[in-house]
Symmetry: C2
Subunit: 206 residues, 2 copies
């Protein structure tokens, strides 16, 4: 059976969402049309508003509606530390951990010459401008532990060194609460290579 044209259009548009295939798109479309037409209209309005009004923070490239994002605009954040991440989702994850009070820089990707992603796409000009300012003392490299993520971190570290700024990398190792048995071998070998001395008192070294 052929879907009607509008329905076909809707199914195709829904498939552009990450993780949504044919069956899921059909389930979503039928759900909205059968049971939640107001929800469908609200979603349409929200999509349009977000596309037109959400842009990048002028300073850190996080999502923002004004010139600065809520983190850059907040008074209480430490302007001396800059945590460099690959995506806005990484910012959300670090914020949820409530363990960091500095600012961020969002690359929106990682160096990947084969995909045509170079320094320009990652806003490196903006990053070096931020770095050369007097305020920043340390950059924390929180790019992913992949080949491209490591290459990006190494590149940013060299930029920081040029400016005489301290660059640090987040620790990689066995997750807290993780059982060794279920940890993959590259994480384990990294955890062993990056082992730390246990202080005589018995507390864990850093």
């Amino acid at each position: 059976m052929q879907f009607t044209p509008r329905l076909q259009q809707l199914l195709q548009a829904l498939r552009s969402l990450p993780g949504v295939g044919n069956k899921t798109a059909q389930r979503m479309a039928f759900h909205l049309l059968e049971r939640n037409r107001e929800g469908a209209l609200a979603l349409a309005t929200a999509l349009e508003a977000a596309v037109h009004e959400v842009r990048r923070c002028e300073r850190c490239r996080m999502f923002a509606e004004a010139g600065l994002c809520t983190i850059c605009a907040a008074a209480g954040r430490d302007a001396g530390i800059l945590c460099v991440v690959e995506s806005p989702a990484d910012v959300m994850a670090i914020e949820e951990s409530a363990s960091y009070r500095g600012r961020y820089f969002v690359l929106h990707g990682r160096l990947s010459p084969l995909d045509g992603i170079g320094p320009e796409e990652l806003g490196i000009d903006q990053f070096t401008a931020l770095l050369s300012g007097a305020g920043v003392q340390e950059i924390i490299l929180a790019t992913s532990a992949t080949v491209e993520g490591e290459a990006t971190a190494a590149y940013l570290a060299s930029l920081a060194a040029e400016q005489g700024k301290r660059a640090t990398r987040i620790a990689h190792g066995v997750p807290i609460g993780g059982e060794l048995e279920y940890v993959d071998s590259s994480t384990l070998s990294r955890a062993i290579a990056a082992r730390t001395t246990v202080a005589a008192g018995g507390s864990r070294g850093g």
Copy 2:
């Protein structure tokens, strides 16, 4: 961290999709805003168009954009058989099996007095009007094999009997290609109760 208002609105709207929770909504929103803003606008347009133009077929209550759905409008369908299903997704599933050339009637639900779903919500007036027409000789009850689905089937069968029309129920049993070992026990007990005689020639009875 607080999401910006537009982003918050978008996340909430995305959560109204079936199977989408907080994390998935965030992944969808970030994906659209970072990498596919045209896709987001296309989705908004498609949602609005579908909500405004997709309604129910005047005859069978399937999704339609004109007065009749594509199945009711098609010339080659057998108007003598009516397959009653619970949802448009069921119509799609039966159409995909390419084993049925009659028409449909879509209930958009099943009898469930506790949820306030009675004959009126299921379009039973429309169903009896169709049934009393001269054309229909048989109704196939393809409601789900749940308590409510069975009750709905029994109710529709009694309506058919009142009109002197033949009512049949789709067969329930072990799925084709299914290994007995993995079939649930209620399906198995039904398959045994509804066993059919094997013809002497060795081919399976019907």
